[in-house]
């Protein structure tokens, strides 16, 4: 992950392999610490939440985004700007409800699972990338958008694609000048 120039003079990148291996080590250690998959999943979600509430400021500082006027703009922003900036991939966004508050991001390439071929047999309901759900949830909460974020489909579990579902829970407030 690199920092955009202009903030500091250095724009060094960290190796992608190091990041992917670090994430893998994190998940493997959690699997050793907790017996149940649900515990590991919720732990990853909490960690992701902690990252998300801090990452949002970094994101807003580095990306020149306008204020989002609708949920679908927000979802597009997450997919096309945030994912691109931090993970280098761009999921496709689709709206999956008539009310306009449920969206899904479809990832056809997920760098976090580069080295993981498939989940071990005893961990069949592990959401390997659940950290991402927590990050999105935390980031949205800091801009006053409550949302539920979960994995709807997961390639590691045998589905065809990896799909993250975002459900916005409340109407966005219009008063303050918030951006996402």
């Amino acid at each position: 992950m690199s920092r955009t120039p202009g903030r500091k003079q250095d724009s060094h990148k960290i190796s992608r392999e190091l990041f992917v291996l670090t994430y893998g080590a994190l998940v493997a250690q959690l699997c050793k610490d907790y017996e149940k998959d649900e515990d590991v999943n919720s732990c990853l979600d909490k960690m992701g939440y902690g990252i998300g509430i801090r990452l949002i400021d970094d994101f807003l500082a580095h990306s020149d985004v306008k204020r989002c006027r609708s949920y679908s703009e927000t979802a597009d922003m997450i997919a096309q700007v945030a994912f691109k900036m931090y993970l280098g991939v761009t999921p496709t966004v689709s709206c999956s409800s008539a009310a306009g508050n449920e969206f899904s991001l479809i990832l056809d390439k997920n760098p976090l699972v580069d080295f993981v071929e498939e989940l071990p047999a005893e961990r069949a309901s592990l959401c390997y990338c659940n950290l991402l759900c927590g990050v999105i949830r935390g980031a949205l909460e800091m801009v006053h958008l409550a949302a539920e974020v979960t994995f709807l489909q997961d390639r590691l579990k045998g589905d065809a694609v990896t799909e993250i579902g975002i459900t916005f829970l409340r109407k966005a407030e219009d008063k303050k000048a918030k951006k996402k």
């Binding site: 392999e17 992917v20 291996l21 994430y23 893998g24 080590a25 998940v27 493997a28 699997c31 580069d114 080295f115 993981v116 071929e117 498939e118 989940l119 071990p120 961990r123």
Partner: protein, 139 residues
Amino acid sequence: ARLGIICRPPQNYPLYIRSVPTENELKFHYTVHTSLDVVDEKISAMGKAMVDQRELYLGLLYPTEDYKVYGYVTNSKVKFVMVVDSSNTALRDNEIRSMFRKLHNSYTDIMCNPFYNPGDRIHSRAFDNMVNSMMMQVC
């Protein structure tokens, strides 16, 4: 017929064995285990200079009347052994080298899997597919 085997020190037990066709498998296992001694000999003969990439490929370990045995050892002392029929004279040295390189690359991918514990037997579909396609090429 061919057999590949990967062994890790210090116990030198096999992490992965595959042979095609599968009869006479015990004889292959025996050949491979004895060739591990030859690998150890070669490593110790090279001494401390064994850090060059070219040195990883050990070449023909020893020919018997039926088989030729080739060896390859990584810097982390993981040994790869390949046994081919002597009748298979079409295999050239650089083909063997490239097969070992593919094995090594696939092995590093397995090591990067966070759920794989070093020392476990290898049960990876991607690895199996790679080995199968290599064996198809040879046999």
